[in-house]
């Protein structure tokens, strides 16, 4: 047996799952896709005493309309379901770029959006995508519910704002605005590995063709996903041009603090983040022109 002993409970409803979590708190973990939790349990890095299986809670899965201009994604939605949902990928094109980078098809058949975001691996793609898009996360407990913006959700390494009695139940994603283009790129040692650096970019133009909004988010270069949109000031109010892009690249490289790891030094990560920032911005911009 690889994992340490635990009690397994199959939740019959969201309310049932939440009441179990209220009872057991940090000793209990939700089991969704299990593609991060089970490996951690196999290594005995995670030793929950209660495992609450939420895989049968079909009302937690799927994609639908939320309020004006937003799509709602259930936390139990699997990557594979999104990869095959062309309407969703059209409305949220950052996902179309990012999903194929997440591990491998076998993992994407099981892994879930909510599990990924709750696990909060800083090298993972979706936390950066959520921060870049301005996703709003919906948390529930047995006694209440609340909304948290993605930029406030990721607190530290593998640490989120989810409290011991709470569950991430769905996320609301803004659909792409008109005159916008998006791009996600990353560099990893092998296909499917975690990113040494990854960049998500959304460029929006005003009616005169000037950049009215530029969103930038990075993964793999800090303890949390990094919102680097503040580094894009050089492009705002300007027509898209190489000089401004180079200024943004330099600002982003100054802004991030990669720690370096066994595969890449901090300097190399910073270099890659800069190159990817330039490429992602240019590709996002070209996609606006292409769509027009």
């Amino acid at each position: 047996m690889k994992p340490a002993p635990f009690k397994y409970v199959k939740a019959s409803s969201v309310a049932h799952a939440l009441s179990l979590k209220a009872e057991h708190g940090d000793d209990a973990r939700f089991l969704a896709g299990g593609q991060s939790l089970i490996p951690a349990m196999n290594f005995r890095l995670a030793r929950p005493s209660v495992l609450i299986d939420i895989n049968d809670l079909s009302d937690l899965a799927g994609c639908g309309e939320a309020e004006e201009g937003r799509l709602r994604l259930g936390a139990l939605t699997r990557y594979r379901a999104l990869e095959r949902n062309s309407d969703f990928l059209k409305a949220c094109p950052l996902f179309a770029d990012a999903l194929p980078h997440i591990a491998h098809p076998q993992i994407r058949n099981r892994g879930t959006i909510g599990g990924n975001l709750s696990h909060a691996d800083p090298a993972s793609e979706l936390p950066a995508v959520a921060v870049t898009m301005g996703a709003r996360l919906h948390l529930k407990s047995a006694t209440g519910e609340r909304q948290v913006e993605a930029c406030d959700f990721f607190i530290g390494l593998l640490t989120t704002d989810v409290q011991p009695d709470e569950m991430l139940v769905d996320i609301a994603l803004p659909v792409q605005k008109p005159r916008s283009g998006a791009c996600f790129m990353e560099v990893a040692r092998r296909r499917g590995d975690f990113a040494l650096a990854g960049v998500a970019a959304i460029v929006t133009l005003d009616a005169e063709g000037r950049c009215s909004q530029v969103r930038l988010g990075l993964c793999g270069v800090g303890e949390t996903p990094v919102d680097a949109s503040g580094g894009a000031a050089a492009l705002i109010g300007e027509t898209f041009n190489d000089k401004a892009v180079e200024a943004v690249v330099a600002d982003v490289q100054r802004l991030i603090e990669p720690a370096g790891n066994v595969h890449a030094s901090a300097d190399y990560q910073r270099h890659v983040a800069g190159v990817l920032t330039g490429r992602a911005l240019r590709t996002a911009y070209q996609r606006i022109a292409h769509a027009a």
Partner: protein, 162 residues
């Protein structure tokens, strides 16, 4: 702590099984040690190598990243069910003909991954085949013969084999 045991019922390769399992038993270990279906190989046990890939309701998944108790009520397929009465599956036949395996440890996972991939993508490019193989590690072949086998199998399957 008393062992946490659950009764499960599932089907593997069309055959029904009913067993009692401890909740912490991985599906990969259950298949090998309780159902004695040792064709599913166990490599890294944390989802990286792909050797333990099986089909859960028709979709390739890592059996080392699922608990046996989670398979309750589901239909599984393993490499033991791949060959039909008339002989090897076209993907198995192509691996044989193109020398797509040496030690064979990774082969069951590759077969389970690629039979589904080729069914969904009947005319893949070489690049698409390599991408589909990316979640299965092979330390012998250097992949080239596996890629050749998959392109040949795709052709056979397009021409009407099962």
């Amino acid at each position: 702590m008393q062992p946490d045991r659950h009764e499960i019922a599932l089907s593997v390769n069309g055959k029904s099984y009913r067993r009692e399992v401890e909740s912490r038993m991985l599906l990969s270990d259950f298949l090998r040690h309780q159902l004695m279906l040792a064709g599913t190989h166990v490599g890294c046990e944390h989802g990286v190598c792909g050797a333990c890939t099986i089909l859960l309701d028709g979709a390739p998944v890592r059996s080392c990243l699922m608990l046996a108790v989670q398979a309750n009520g589901h239909e599984l397929a393993t490499v033991e069910g791949l060959a039909g009465e008339t002989g090897l599956h076209p993907v198995q036949q192509a691996m044989h003909e193109h020398h797509g395996l040496q030690c064979g440890f990774c082969t069951p996972g590759i077969l389970m991954t690629m039979t589904v991939f080729l069914k969904e993508n009947p005319s893949p490019s070489e690049e698409e085949v390599r991408e589909a193989l990316s979640g299965n590690l092979c330390r012998c072949t250097g992949y080239q013969n596996i890629v050749d086998a998959m392109l040949a199998a795709a052709k056979t399957m397009r021409n009407g084999a099962p």
